[in-house]
């Protein structure tokens, strides 16, 4: 892969309005999206992810910065001159056209010959498994079918990049799971770069090659799903992706290549030291499934079981830590022949392996 292929976002800022109504939607954002990658922009609503997508599509002009596609600036091209197509959140299918006419629209705009257009439309109908619905109008289709038409229409032009703006948010859970798999299949088959916007962290983790977590107009962290999940570098990222325990702590003394952190009272935890371990006040981030519960007296955080929730595959224990160090959630897999479970009120030790602790500076 050459260095210039894919999308390069360089120092993009975008402000809307002026004076007191001024809103900074994106603040000096830089990002590289590789060719043929399934890349997700993840964040809560209002974080700027849709604005970034609209800037790549060309519906908005950046206030500052540049966007390059395969090394060429596209930031100031109108949307109809960009080799980029969009699947809209609302699908935005043309209500006065049939399914086939919708899919053919982009091809006709390119000036493709009628016969080729018909061939490509047929090919697309097969790809999204909608054969037989060519003559229907969008209003006569279910939500899932409309979704597929929107995909077929956007893919028909063979764009270099496909932008997807929360395309699954209007579908029910079962259909959403199906479309997740479908989208992944389409991306692998077409070899097109997908840029996917969502606020659903589970969707982002299951589908993406890499994802960017955004908040308040900034990109906080970019990485593969496992990296983002296992090694969040910000409190916000840790908190937004999945469930996590966040404990306030101060660095006590280094201990070889490990550091001991003091939580309050006599409670301490030993964590793997990063290259430059943060000093002073920190947050310790620990996934509930990476800790384990042992009877009181074992080496770990002392506490008492406060609540127990059985959720099938797992049981979730909420432990009130001693010395006011806060609450700790432990998620234990329910295995056959496992040791006797704990009951509410039991004194326990929460055991956390040093490598399961992510130390975040506040």
């Amino acid at each position: 892969m050459s260095e210039s292929s894919g999308i390069a976002v360089r120092g993009i800022s975008k402000t809307f309005g002026s004076g007191a109504d001024r809103v900074q939607a994106l603040d000096n954002v830089s990002l590289d999206i590789r060719e043929n990658e399934f890349f997700t922009l993840l964040g809560p609503s209002g974080c700027g992810k849709t604005t970034l997508l609209r800037l790549i599509a060309g519906f908005e002009q950046p206030s500052a910065g540049d966007i390059l596609l395969d090394g060429v600036s596209i930031a100031h091209l109108p949307p109809f001159q960009r080799p980029v197509n969009t699947v809209f959140q609302s699908y935005a299918l043309f209500p006065h056209m049939t399914v086939a006419q919708n899919i053919a629209f982009g091809l006709e705009m390119q000036g493709m010959a009628r016969r080729q257009v018909d061939e490509r439309v047929a090919e697309m109908m097969t790809l999204v498994q909608l054969g037989g619905l060519e003559a229907r109008r969008p209003a006569q289709l279910s939500g899932g079918q409309q979704q597929r038409v929107a995909l077929a229409r956007a893919l028909a032009n063979h764009p270099k990049v496909l932008l997807l703006d929360e395309p699954l948010s209007a579908l029910d859970l079962k259909l959403r799971k199906e479309m997740q798999i479908e989208l992944k299949r389409l991306q692998l088959e077409s070899g097109i770069t997908f840029v996917f916007v969502t606020h659903d962290q589970e969707e982002a983790l299951t589908m993406s090659d890499r994802l960017a977590v955004m908040s308040d107009g900034h990109i906080l962290q970019i990485g593969a799903p496992a990296e983002i999940y296992e090694h969040p570098r910000h409190r916000f990222v840790a908190d937004f992706i999945g469930e996590i325990n966040l404990l306030d702590a101060t660095a006590a003394e280094p201990n070889g290549n490990r550091v001991r952190y003091r939580l309050g009272g006599s409670q301490t935890l030993l964590a793997e030291a990063a290259d430059a371990p943060p000093a002073g006040r920190v947050s310790l981030a620990i996934r509930p499934e990476r800790a384990s519960l042992e009877p009181a007296g074992e080496e770990g955080l002392a506490g008492a079981v406060e609540s127990i929730v059985y959720i099938g595959a797992d049981t979730v224990y909420r432990v009130a830590l001693a010395d006011g160090a806060g609450n700790f959630i432990v998620r234990v897999q329910n295995r056959a022949g496992a040791r006797g479970a704990f009951a509410i009120g039991d004194a326990v030790a929460v055991v956390v392996p040093p490598e399961a602790i992510q130390v975040l500076s506040d």
Partner: protein, 301 residues
């Protein structure tokens, strides 16, 4: 219970609500139309009026034929030509109004919602002035030596009088001005409902502004455009005051022709028959509109 009669049944209530409108239409619309239809099948009176006991279809025959000295019918297209002239003038007026009205409506639909009501109010301002006053104003603007003529001459754009007043073009200008709100408001109503994400989708798929307009915006605004055209075309066809004043009465239009029959020509049956022919054309236009747009694709979403 004093209001008991009012609540007696759904049917009674509906009749009470719709009654005034039905009465109004029956007395002021239906009876006059039936009367007029009856008059069109009567003999004309010697000195105006009609002979109520003599029935004939002469008035309708006279629209297309002339009775020769020997009593045989000869085709006479004079009246048909007046109808055609009015027809073309109405088409011209409609096109002119559409050319001005569509961009206006489009501009209005693109404004922030808080300005739109103000713009709607501004568009309806021509209605606030008396029709005669408006037409005399146009005479002052259009006549040779008038405001437009002087301005063009002063700018050196013309070296002869423009001679626009008392031409069909002047009539079309006057009618367009009067009926512009009828064009702008329905088009605005359909453009305001238009989902502009569809326009973004068209851009995204490679359509430039012109093709997004032709392939997406205009088709979706078509019901409004058609309604506006009908609302302008119909009153233009029967217009009387504007053609008389701005057309100078040189070329007869339907409205003036009908007025003549009830006035100077004292031929009430023929006037009534002409009015019915006009009504027929108008109904035909409405039927075409209904057949084409009754189930518009834009409304199915």
């Amino acid at each position: 219970m004093p209001m008991g009669w009012f609540r007696r049944s759904k049917t009674h209530r509906q009749m009470a609500l719709i009654g005034p409108a039905v009465l109004f239409l029956a007395v002021l619309m239906l009876i006059p139309i039936v009367l007029m239809g009856y008059v069109s099948f009567l003999e004309r009176g010697e000195f105006g009026g009609v002979r109520w006991s003599d029935h004939t279809v002469d008035a309708y025959v006279a629209f297309l034929f002339e009775r020769d000295f020997d009593g045989s019918l000869q085709l006479n297209t004079d009246y048909l030509q007046i109808f055609l002239r009015s027809f073309w003038l109405s088409i011209g007026t409609t096109v002119l109004t559409l050319l001005v009205g569509f961009p206006t409506a489009f501009y209005m639909a693109l404004q922030p919602p808080r300005y739109r009501n103000l713009l709607i109010f501004l568009v309806t301002i021509p209605f606030w002035t008396n029709l005669l006053v408006r037409n005399y104003a146009w005479i002052l603007l259009l006549r040779n030596g008038g405001l437009i003529d002087s301005a063009l001459a002063w700018l050196g754009l013309t070296d002869a009088p423009i001679s626009v007043l008392y031409t069909p073009f002047a009539v079309a200008i006057g009618l367009s001005y009067s009926y512009l709100p009828f064009m702008v408001l329905p088009i605005y109503a359909s453009l305001e409902k238009l989902d502009f994400r569809l326009v973004e989708a068209a851009f995204d798929l490679g359509a430039d502004r012109r093709r997004a307009l032709a392939r997406v915006i205009i088709p979706l605004a078509a019901p409004g455009i058609a309604a506006g055209c009908i609302l302008v075309f119909i009153p233009s066809l029967g217009a009387y005051v504007t053609p008389e004043l701005l057309g100078g009465g040189k070329s007869l239009m339907i409205g003036s022709l009908i007025q003549n029959q009830f006035g100077a020509a004292r031929n009430w049956p023929f006037g009534a028959a002409l009015a019915f022919a006009l009504l027929g054309i108008v109904l035909l236009a409405i039927v075409i509109y209904l057949l084409r747009f009754r189930r518009s694709p834009g409304e199915m979403t």
